[in-house]
C-alpha cells in the first residue's frame, strides 16, 4: 500500500510544481535500473503520456540534476544518461563501460572500501584547491564478455 511518492514533499518544499510530465519521468526513473538517455526517457514516458515533448524531458532532467535527485553521466557515446540517486532502494554504485559495444554494468562491491579512502581524499582536495566537492564518479573502461 504505497503512500504518495516521496518526491511529492520534496517538490513542494522546493517551490517547484509537481506536474504530470515530472511525475511520469520520476516514476519511470524510480522503476528502472537502466542507464537511460533523454530519448529513451521520452519514448518510455510517451507510451503512458503521449502529450509529452522531448524539450520537457530535457528541462525536467536538468531540474532534477540541479536538485540532486538525478545523476547525469557521459560514457563517451555522445549522449548523456540519467539515473535517480535519491529515494529508497537507491544504492550508490559505479560503472563498467564496454568501449566496443557500449554496454554498461553497475558495480557496487567497491563502495565499502571506497568510502574510507574517498572521505579523506575529498576533504584534502577541498582544502588544497578551495574546491567545494559535492561528489565523484568512477568509470571503469574495458571490453565486456561478448566483445573480448
Amino acid at each position: 500500500m504505497p503512500g504518495p511518492p516521496w518526491w511529492q514533499e520534496r517538490f513542494r518544499d522546493w517551490g517547484y510544481r509537481l506536474t504530470i510530465p515530472r511525475q511520469a519521468i520520476l516514476s519511470l526513473l524510480s522503476k528502472t535500473n537502466k542507464h537511460l538517455s533523454a530519448i529513451d526517457i521520452y519514448l518510455a514516458v510517451h507510451r503512458v503520456y503521449p502529450g509529452i515533448g522531448l524539450t520537457t524531458v530535457y528541462r525536467t532532467l536538468d531540474l532534477l540534476v540541479k536538485g540532486g535527485l538525478v545523476l547525469k553521466f557521459d560514457f563517451g557515446d555522445g549522449k548523456s544518461r540519467y539515473e535517480l540517486c535519491k529515494g529508497p532502494d537507491i544504492k550508490p554504485h559505479h560503472h563498467l563501460v564496454c568501449t566496443n559495444c557500449g554496454r554498461i554494468i553497475d558495480c557496487r562491491e567497491f563502495i565499502d572500501k571506497e568510502k574510507e579512502v574517498f572521505e579523506n581524499v575529498q576533504s584534502s582536495l577541498s582544502t588544497k584547491y578551495n574546491f567545494d566537492i559535492k561528489g565523484h564518479q568512477i568509470h571503469f573502461y574495458g571490453l565486456c564478455e561478448k566483445c573480448n
Copy 2:
C-alpha cells in the same frame, strides 16, 4: 638538443603514416597541460598549419585514442576533451570539475593511495563480470573557488 619526437617510431611500427596534421596535433598536445576540445585543437593547429580541417582533427584524435596515446574525457559540457597520456613528462592524474563554470583542475595527490586500492578492485571486477578492464577515470565534481 631534442631528437626526433618519440612518437615517430611508434607510428612507423604501428603502420600508420606520420603526416603533417598528425605531427602538428601531437606536438600541440605534448606542449599543453590544458583540457582541449576538438575545436580548441583545430584552432591552435590552424595557426601554425592553416591547411588543416576539423575532420582531420577528429580522425586523428580517434586514432590516437584507439592507439592509447590519448585519453578522451567527457566532463558534462557536451564536448569531448583530449589529453596526451604517453611520453616523457606524463603523469597520471584525475580531475576536479566545477559544475558551475566548467573549470577543470588536475589532481595528482591521490594517485599513490589509489594504485594499491585499484589494482585489487580491477582484477576482482574483471573476474566477476568477465570484463577486460583497461583503465578507469575518476572525476570529482563541485564548485571551484570563484563559484563557491
